[in-house]
Subunit: 229 residues, 2 copies
DNA sequence: CGGTATCCCCCGCGATACTG
DNA sequence: CAGTATCGCGGGGGATACCG
């Protein structure tokens, strides 16, 4: 796609690559440390495999991504180049603006599977007890197949399961998707959700008190929304 | 267009508006101080009127732009809201990245009319002699109807003419489009272009020496390209 | 100047099925 | 797991003409 805008302005040239559909979300995943094809897809579940591959090729030819052979299989990992790493200020600026000014969350935005995937990257495993901690997440208002998830945490790794992982639950979190989403976004304080009863944590009382601190929430959660004026 | 990406991530929500085609360029113009419909169009000449209007409506409904009645005619001016003003870090980050890492300038990017329009916003009229200064720009390799432009400068205003403005030229600049573009981008030092002879300035020798300083160049011109390694 | 209205084409993209 | 192949449609957007 040569010269989409007919300008040599750096913003126009950068736009050609960066404003393609799904592109910023793919870059967000790569920036968050995703390297494998399906790892990226889990963070951008609504993109088709065909289109994701196409986007990755575009990123490669733009010098933003490189492929590196990995492991024993013939497959490869996608790595950000130096040019890709320098996209971080853009993602940060877009996220900050979105946190402050973007539209409110709609029904269709509330994908519980994506929420859990986002949460699993932001768990403070160092603050957890030694050994394995299993957090069961129960979204009371989600469709049956998206109602239950488990976060299996063993410092420093966190794994997402959609079936019982075979270990006892350490704690059980029960909430609705919107509450958890707003807590994750930093729009609603977790303490408020707890005292309202829209989010409950069950388990050994010593751990129940610590658990809210294990959730590090979105990287933009500290940025305050602007329309509260 | 509700929930294009099915995520409540702030980057995804911001993307819905910001990554529409032409959107960043329209915002660049608004951020540069353009307020009228056709003023924006001159900075984004390849967008159709229909689509520009559509984009402006989207910006309005996203809370990024407001319309304000202006002057005697029934028309209006487009003004950035506070949310729109806070997009500046995004434009800045995208431009900086583009300056460092975006693809090289192609033939079709080299629109001399756009170049002159970009330049006219970045003229240091305060450094010019008192009264009116007329700069004639001659692009030797441009198609006939885009070969000659005039910048009529009278502090602090600069006007672009595509026909002889009716005043004597103070100075005459002769160059090819690519040279002027690369100088404007800060990729090639103007001194180098002058000594190579790919850019010449003719007129009273006292003014010829000052003239290179009148061109403030792109706001990203100080950012160095990265692939010089 | 600042738009509308209309037409129509193309291709971006989603969906589905299949492979090494 | 990491893709490829194919099909088909929808609508985004370019072009052109028109208007107050």
């Amino acid at each position: 796609m040569p010269s989409q805008f007919g300008q040599f302005c750096p913003i126009a040239l950068a736009s050609e690559v960066l404003t393609q559909k799904w592109m910023l979300l793919v870059l967000r995943e790569l920036n968050a440390g995703a390297t494998r094809f399906n790892e990226i897809r889990r963070g951008v579940p609504r993109i088709s495999a065909t289109l994701l591959k196409q986007r990755l090729l575009q990123l490669e030819s733009a010098g933003i991504v490189t492929r590196r052979p990995v492991g024993a299989d013939g497959h490869e990992a996608y790595i950000l180049t130096e040019a890709g790493a320098e996209l971080k200020p853009i993602l940060s600026a877009v996220g900050t603006w979105g946190q402050r000014w973007a539209r409110d969350i709609e029904r269709e935005d509330l994908d519980p599977a994506w929420l859990v995937w986002a949460m699993h990257r932001r768990i403070d495993t160092a603050a957890m007890p030694q050994g394995r901690t299993v957090l069961a997440l129960h979204f009371v208002d989600a469709p049956a197949h998206h109602r239950l998830f488990w976060l299996v945490c063993e410092h420093p790794r966190v794994e997402v399961c959609i079936k019982p992982p075979g270990f006892d639950d350490t704690l059980r979190v029960e909430t609705d998707v919107r509450t958890m989403a707003e807590v994750w976004r930093g729009i609603r304080p977790i303490g408020q959700a707890l005292s309202e009863g829209s989010l409950t944590i069950e388990g050994p009382s010593a751990l129940v008190g610590q658990a809210p601190g294990w959730f590090l929430l979105s990287v933009f959660s500290e940025t305050k929304r602007a329309d509260c004026r």
